[in-house]
Amino acid sequence: MRLSHQILTTLTLAGLLALSACAQLKALPNLPATHPEAVANGPVSCAECHEDQQSGTMKPFKAFNHTRVFVQNHRFYAASDDALCASCHKFSFCADCHTNKGAMKPATLNGDRPDRMMPHRGDYLTLHKIEGKLDPASCYRCHGRTNNERCVACHR
């Protein structure tokens, strides 16, 4: 009898907490599902139009300007703000490079877009023998556990 009373009290408290949390969640705004204006191709600077702080990520818009440094280090942003990325980019944009099994190297898929910073342009087959020894972690970030066919053809 005493145990069931304790369980009932605990459940009631948990229920009240859950209701309170739900009520507070309703006060938190969503990021827009998609950017309300069409965004042109080419490098984008959020700060061209936005001056204030992005409400969803709570970071200034200028933090997301697509500078060369941003593109090279976009993993820091994708790891915490992918919902903001998704307001402009379809996920297939990411899948051009990030996939467990690729059909061709991204630079070939996007050969007509030399302005995109695609990895492995030119004769990377030769280059990777140097770059891979110099900085293997940079290979691992994408190819780490994917066992890509082109890798295992030689590395076995």
């Binding site: 919902a83 980019h89 996939t99 302005d115 556990r145 053809a153």
Partner: protein
């Protein structure tokens, strides 16, 4: 299995199409026909004619308007018998479902639930999962995300009985944000025990491979409006050592000037531990990789941006320095985009491809792209000049030209032709035809 899969994927897309009739959505499709011939002394000449179809679809506003379906994958058919470039792959058909998931997006708190095949990028977590994920913002700046399901298995390397992955996986991230000042996250990943691997090849260290289990943290801090500091670190609970730490600092002392500095450190054994492929490449225990770099970029509205960068690499095996600069220009309302770059990588001899060669090389690249409403055309020249010849050649260059026509606003047809000379080939000629259909999201934003 592949044959079954190659029929399931298009069936999945076709089954989903009726839903699109009642929902806002977007599609992207890229069809690429490549024609390549591989002729090398001492080898049988081979012709490669693969036809590859990439398909993506996003069906928004299903059900009550908050439900959406997202699909992306590719299929490849080798149109000439035995034209697969990869070893013993005799199948004419190959394919992959990159992602395919249902998402329910709640009306508040950036809360969402996903089910299906998807990628998870949360803190130190970067995984492809067949399962379920959920995330939401919480009051007072907190946030939480979690996921769980089956591991997406990949190809089995030759000589191994499996791909080295466990069958189940779960993880998540807990974060805190204070507006405009900081974000900090704790994240972790736990994969079920890695399967037993095959006999170790000669020269491979034992004890360097095991289960994929990491915990870590990430942060973003902006103590002053002109300064941003980002970082992440992961700890391998199987080896009980730090696997990775990476930091990025960005300073904008003026509107047009961006200064940056990076530092990355990896304990190779602990970072590569769950990769059946990379763990085999480890030559000794306790090996570390470090890279520290800096860059300065000056941007002008009229002439584009110019940047200079430097990076120092340090490994037990040797050291290297890379330095150079780039210029990127955008003109005529971004329809004309150009670039010019030069970099020199100077390394100790340890990184040379061959003992007689050098690991040092110059990289020169220039490109131009003109994209109008009617046509688009680009040229891209890239040249690597080796300090010492590699297999008798001290260069590897490639010139690529692309020409395309916008048949409609969403549909375009283009062709690429490239020619090059490098240590692998005396002459390398490649061509492809590309048909692209790409629509914007229903709520606008960008195309791909």
């Amino acid at each position: 299995m592949k044959k079954v899969f190659s029929r399931v994927l298009p069936a999945l897309f076709l089954a989903a199409l009726p839903a699109a009739a009642h929902a806002g959505g977007s599609f992207d499709s890229t069809t690429i026909l490549r024609i390549e011939q591989d002729s090398r002394n001492g080898y049988e000449s081979k012709r490669f004619v693969p036809l590859t179809q990439f398909l993506g679809a996003d069906f928004d506003k299903l059900g009550d308007g908050n439900l959406s379906l997202h699909l992306h994958g590719w299929l490849r058919a080798n149109l000439v018998d035995g034209s697969s470039r990869i070893g013993n792959d005799d199948d004419k058909l190959d394919g992959n479902l990159t992602y395919g998931y249902l998402q329910y997006r709640f009306n508040n708190a950036n809360a969402r639930v996903r089910a299906g095949r998807f990628f998870v990028t949360e803190g130190i977590v970067n995984e492809q999962v067949d399962g379920v994920s959920a995330r939401t913002d919480l009051p007072y700046g907190f946030g939480i995300s979690t996921f769980g399901g089956a591991t997406v298995h990949t190809a089995t390397p030759p000589g191994q009985p499996n791909d080295g992955k466990g069958d189940g996986i779960f993880g998540g991230r807990f974060s805190y944000r204070k507006g405009g000042l900081l974000e900090a996250g704790l994240s972790g990943i736990y994969e079920s025990s890695a399967p037993a691997r095959g006999t170790l090849p000669t020269g491979v260290l034992s004890g360097n491979f095991g289960s994929h289990r990491l915990v870590g943290g990430d942060f973003w801090i902006s103590p002053l409006s002109m300064v941003q500091l980002s970082g992440r670190a992961s700890y391998n609970t199987e080896t009980s050592k730090l696997a990775e730490q990476s930091y990025l600092m960005q300073v904008t002392p003026g509107k047009d000037l961006l200064l940056s500095a990076t530092f990355d450190q990896y304990n190779d054994r602990d970072y590569f531990f769950s990769s059946i492929l990379f763990s085999d490449m480890l030559k000794k225990d306790g090996q570390q990789s470090r890279a520290a770099g800096a860059s300065a970029t000056y941007s002008t509205a009229k002439y584009g941006d110019v940047s200079a960068d430097y990076k120092h690499y340090s490994r037990d095996a040797g050291k290297g320095d890379r330095f150079g600069g780039d210029w990127r220009g955008t003109f005529q309302d971004k329809s004309l985009r150009t670039g010019l770059g030069y970099h020199y990588l100077r390394t100790t001899p340890d990184f040379a491809i061959l003992p007689s060669a050098s690991g040092s090389f110059h990289e020169i690249r220039c490109y131009a792209l003109h994209d109008t409403k009617g046509y688009f055309a680009s040229v891209d020249l890239i040249d690597y000049v080796f300090k010492e010849p590699v297999q008798g050649k001290d260069y590897a260059w490639e010139a690529l030209a692309a020409l395309g026509y916008h048949l409609t606003a969403d549909l375009s047809l283009s062709g690429d032709l490239s020619y090059g000379k490098n240590p692998q080939y005396d002459n390398e000629v490649k061509g492809l035809l590309r048909l692209t259909y790409n629509t914007t999201n229903s709520g606008k934003g960008a195309t791909k």
